[in-house]
Amino acid sequence: SAVISQKPSRDICQRGTSLTIQCQVDSQVTMMFWYRQQPGQSLTLIATANQGSEATYESGFVIDKFPISRPNLTFSTLTVSNMSPEDSSIYLCSVVGDSSYEQYFGPGTRLTVT
């Protein structure tokens, strides 16, 4: 399985600002995913990020709010723009394993917006 790290691990931000979350993988992977986990809830897929192409966003998520970069096969960033308290969540990145069906997750970034 891949080893995934995320930065920052947690942050407290003010309303109206933006935060960029980094996801680093210890091996080259084709597909990376970004998820949101709101307090006490399950995971919701934000977007799929493939290297060399635009990210694919799920219904309810837009590029202006959650811009994603994928500059190479080991790194991706997710920006949460113009934040509001409703954006307070855990944001997790994941990568696809060797079987192409299992996913491995980073430790998450815990975001609180005040």
């Binding site: 399985s1 995913f33 897929l45 997790l92 079987s99 192409s100 069906y101 299992e102 997750f105 998450g108």
Partner: protein, 115 residues
């Protein structure tokens, strides 16, 4: 579209007791099923997976799950739980109709193991 239903939001048990966390799914095509565990303040860890073959799947930490196609279920079991098993457990499904890798998660089951 695929969906996953975890039938219990909270399961309290005593240490060394057996436990079953229930998961049902709906899909019109072949599926791949997963159980993940999330310990407090941590990310998700893959417990076990069913891709094909034997319907009884063994995972880490003594957990196992059984794929039942006729009942569209993938229940997670452990014969004797420990305090350290206290965590949130998520059932997830992916399949051909969602481009293979896209996971759909259930709402989660909080397992609390009491001494």
């Amino acid at each position: 579209a695929q969906s996953v239903t975890q039938l219990d939001s909270q399961v309290p048990v005593f240490e060394e007791a057996p436990v079953e966390l229930r998961c049902n799914y709906s899909s019109s095509v072949s599926v791949y099923l997963f159980w993940y565990v999330q310990y407090p303040n941590q990310g998700l860890q893959l417990l076990l997976k069913y891709l094909s073959g034997s319907t009884l799947v063994k995972g880490i930490n003594g957990f196992e799950a059984e794929f039942n196609k006729s009942q569209t279920s993938f229940h997670l079991r452990k014969p004797s739980v420990h305090i350290s098993d206290t965590a949130e457990y998520f059932c997830a499904v992916s399949g051909w109709e969602t481009s293979g890798s896209r996971l759909t998660f259930g709402e989660g089951t909080q397992l609390t193991v009491n001494p």
